[in-house]
């Protein structure tokens, strides 16, 4: 369905003219040669800490920002170099749900305008037809027909996120990229939205890329999990493999740091020391090298490649 190959985004963050000459160029390797594939009807979970490049990946796939290098093919078509007109056509099949339900809805538009916009743009709907479809979409996400003429400020956070989901569904997309859609919600509301996403995916046969920093949420929703760190994919495998038999030391550390309520943990253990690595002029070797508990000499100089260490389980680490 979706295949990403060597997708790369470098940001040039060299300051003014003077630093350009004195200190040399600074490059933030936000996303650095990542590759993965999402089969139809499945959910890929992208996890990682802040600054690891997960949101940038979402923006690259939807072409909200131009990629430095790499390929993204959607149903066999290369989309990164499609001309504007064709890309606009294609956008109806790839939609996004954003993190902040307060910032991603225009406060001056009514729900009918927000959810109806994709209908008008992609399907040429208007008037009664549009109203009927908007009502139908609202009911699909658990809102009701009397919400149609309200403004975003009249809704709670969870309801707004439902509006965002209705908007994403309006154009009948095949692929939805959800960028931290539940991280600003309380647990009880978060559960409602997660149930909704899961049900919609099943009923509408959607393919989903789900981005989150919360391992619990990703573990619940995803079929395949990719763990990112400082612009690189460290490990990618099925959700069962990641949670039951993680190989990369970073994945293990993430799992150990993840606050769960299941088995009571008596000891807090933080196997990772130090700060989250920023991919700013990153080291030659492994990005995790400075924090890794099992590092060896070559980690400093040779970058580990993402290799298949078990069936359908790819890991980037020298020591696995």
């Amino acid at each position: 369905m979706l295949e990403v190959k060597n997708l790369t985004k470098y940001f040039d963050i060299t300051g003014g003219l003077l630093s350009r000459f004195s200190a040399g160029a600074k490059v933030l390797k936000a996303v650095d040669h990542i590759s993965f594939a999402v089969p139809e009807g499945k959910t890929l979970g992208l996890v990682g800490e802040s600054g690891c490049g997960k949101s940038t990946t979402a923006r690259l796939i939807t072409r909200l920002i131009p990629a430095t290098e790499g390929e993204v093919s959607f149903e066999g078509r290369e989309i990164l170099h499609l001309p504007k007109q064709e890309m606009r056509e294609l956008r109806r099949h790839i939609q996004m749900i954003f993190q902040d339900p307060y910032a991603s809805l225009n406060p001056r538009m009514r729900v009918i305008e927000i959810v109806g916009r994709p209908l008008a743009l992609f399907h040429g709907m208007s008037g009664q037809k549009k109203l009927a479809r908007v009502t139908e979409l609202l009911e699909l996400v658990g809102l009701s027909a009397d919400h149609v003429y309200r403004y975003p400020h009249e809704f709670s956070g969870g309801q707004r996120q439902r509006i965002g989901i209705a908007r994403a569904l309006a154009s009948n997309p095949k692929l939805i990229i959800a960028d931290e859609p539940v991280s600003s919600l309380d647990v009880s509301v978060q559960a409602q939205v997660l149930n909704l996403l899961k049900r919609l995916q099943r009923e509408l046969k959607l393919t989903l890329i789900f981005i989150s920093h919360d391992l619990n949420v990703v573990g619940y929703l995803a079929d395949i999990v990719a763990v990112m760190y400082a612009g690189k994919i460290m490990e990618i495998a099925s959700v069962e493999e990641i949670f039951n038999a993680p190989l990369n030391p970073y994945t293990k550390a993430l799992l150990a740091s993840n606050p769960t309520v299941g088995p009571i943990m008596e000891n807090i253990q933080s196997p990772l020391k130090g700060e989250v690595t920023l991919p700013l002029n990153p080291p030659l070797g492994c990005r995790l090298e400075s924090r890794c508990p099992i590092r060896v000499d070559k980690c400093k100089t040779i970058e580990p490649l993402l290799e298949e260490k078990r069936a359908l389980h790819r890991v980037a680490c020298h020591e696995v």
Binding site: E49, S50, S156, G158, D186, V187, S188, V189, Q190, A191, Q192, L194, N195, K198, R199, H213, L215, N216, V217, G219, Y220, L221, V239, E240, F243, A253, L254, A256, S257, N258, P259, T260, V261, G262, I264, M265, I268, Q269, S270, L272, K273, E275, V276
Partner: protein
Amino acid sequence: MIVRRSEAECIVFVTEGLLLANESRANCGIGDQMSAPLLEVKNLTIHFHLKRGILNAVQDVSFSIQESETFGIVGETGCGKTVTSLSILRLIPCPPGEIVSGQILFEGENLLEKSQRELEKIRGRKISMVFQEPMTSLNPSLTVGEQIGECYRIHMGHSKKVAREFTEHTLNLVHLPSPKTLANRYPHELSGGMRQRVMIAMGLACQPKLLIADEPTTALDVTIQAQILELLKELQAKMKMALIFISHNLGVVARLCDKIGVMYAGSLVELSDKKSLLTNPLHPYTRALLNAIPRPEMRHEALNAIPGAVCNLFEPPPGCKFHPRCSRTKEICKTEMPGLEPKSGRNLAACYFPGA
């Protein structure tokens, strides 16, 4: 047995390799017998007078904390956990806030009757606080060293030079590298995790008896959060101080606290020890909250989301505030508010039909 504060303090500092012998405090160590709780909050009710009406932020909340005990408060947005914690240090802006009734007894004295001047001697000295967002709670125009040193100069009357020494020691205590250079840096030069360590150092500077941490790890990444939790646990045990830890994340609270209180819409609905709260919750809200947390092993079933939304705090429903969302609501729940009472051993719940 009466433990004098200064003795305990000396022990801590001697183990740290620094002498604090010249430190003497006459005004404490009098009333703190082991049996009396360090902090006792009794029937605390707080309203906010807003344009839209009166917001019932906290209603009839009571709990107590013994010395060197860890107490966690969990709840969702707007449940009153932050307001409760701020009221202990009288940091609620009045107006619009008003502490309608209740008592906050710290070492037997009611903090609500203290003058501002008396409070200043307690804030940061005996009770201190670590806030959620370290960037907005640190002063951006002062160096880290100046901000931490202030505690020593104001509360303990040390000179700048001595304060500086103590500051470097405290920075060392929270495992920040090279304290000497770090003390000269400004908050914006530090990462989020380091800033939170600086906040904790500041909170611990005067070796308080009670540290209130309000969502101290919410803004941090998970691996950094794990580091900060480990640090808090280590320091709490080392300094034998009591800790109130507030979070919306039950998992985080469970890592740190022995006793946990659950708040819903301004009321404390359950107060249990960690183990029974997680394995055998008494209040239906606690149970629902636990079931709503997604887990990988539950991926083939739907999550038990709590239906509906939190009640309107301007006009809370009569009776139990959770009754519109509760699965075992009976007639009595709709009319009479249940009190927080012992239901199973020493565990308390505000519910007519508690348990499984």
